[in-house]
Symmetry: C2
Subunit: 182 residues, 2 copies
DNA sequence: GACGATACGGAACGCGCGCCCCGCTTGTCA
DNA sequence: TGACAAGCGGGGCGCGCGTTCCGTATCGTC
């Protein structure tokens, strides 16, 4: 690959990451190209479609989260590790509109790369959850899938009112800590 | 107003309510017209713009919720009334994609009718909340605005996985019940 | 330094959708 | 029942945006 091509690819990716985070999937591709200082054609040489570009951005983001989750899985205190993960998920995504689209939109079935990444993240999250539950730090009547649903919702909520972050997180935390009366 | 005009207006409103709930704001106006059995021009005779139609639909929905909240405000048990309201909000909106757009989208500033309706709903919800808090049924460190943020999030979450409704609601409920350790 | 290949830019195309327009239909009232 | 207004349908326009195409510029190599 030619040097300038490599440089442009990186620029596009950076601009796309920023633009998608700020505006969501709705940002026009021309706008991304403009921010990257390239033409629209160049974007298409590196990514066959706008959706592919979006997926590349999300893939990076999701992978990073998964790695973090795996790190936490080896912490001593399972409860603390779990809630730390929760906090990162909630606040990390609160200011990026792209996640909304990634989570809500069912149109990104994609080549399967994202699906796999998502599955990994879910798995890592579930691992943290199970450990915390074994330590009695989290209620037993919730599974990995439902946890992700909750997380999506919390993220989406903070999208609108980032200022309410702490209280929303507190309610989620306390709700997860609650022991079921059976 | 002529009889057929009245009938057509009602048909459009009904079709729009259904279509918006199923598909969200993204549903093409022609589709709504088709479902209503009228032409696109007819829709525009009754509602000046697509957004106006959407607002009319949402106005109805929001007003209904507010009335319900006001009814509950006179119940004997403030805690039970509050959680009943919560349940209605969460599950009532879980299967309608239009609320997503109404809640997320900031583009519907509108003529102010919706804004007023929203404010009324918030006020009624806040009243229920305050009463429940005075009865020590709900944590004290949360206000009306933050409650609405939480509710939006929960609603949005269930949009994707309606099956997780009960557990999500349970976590929200228990999180709200939790007393703060100070 | 010249030449071939690779990559670039941005004008142009097609499509979907909101909205308007106008010839025709239908309801209403005398 | 006739005449006029009110209302209707759907073709068409304009715009925004994703995508493509191709003449031009740039890189790497001999």
């Amino acid at each position: 690959m030619r040097a300038d091509a490599q440089r442009n690819r990186a620029r596009v990716l950076a601009a796309a990451t920023e633009a998608f985070a700020a505006e969501g999937l709705a940002v026009p591709l021309d706008e991304i190209a403009r921010r990257a200082g390239v033409g629209a054609g160049t974007v298409y040489r590196h990514f066959p479609t706008k959706e592919a570009l979006f997926e590349a951005v999300m893939l990076d983001r999701i992978t990073r989260l998964t790695e973090y989750a795996k790190t936490l899985a080896e912490a001593e205190d399972p409860g603390a590790a779990f809630f730390e993960f929760l906090r990162r998920m909630v606040f990390g995504a609160a200011s990026s509109k792209d996640l909304i689209d990634a989570l809500i939109g069912q149109e990104l079935s994609g080549a399967g790369l994202i699906v796999a990444a998502k599955r990994d993240l879910h798995q890592a999250g579930a691992e943290l959850l199970t450990r915390a539950q074994r330590a009695s730090a989290v209620r037993a009547d919730i599974g990995g899938t439902e946890l992700m649903t909750l997380l999506s919702g919390t993220t989406l909520a903070l999208q609108q009112n980032p200022a309410d972050g702490e209280i929303v997180f507190a309610v989620l935390r306390d709700g997860l800590r609650a022991q079921i009366p059976t």
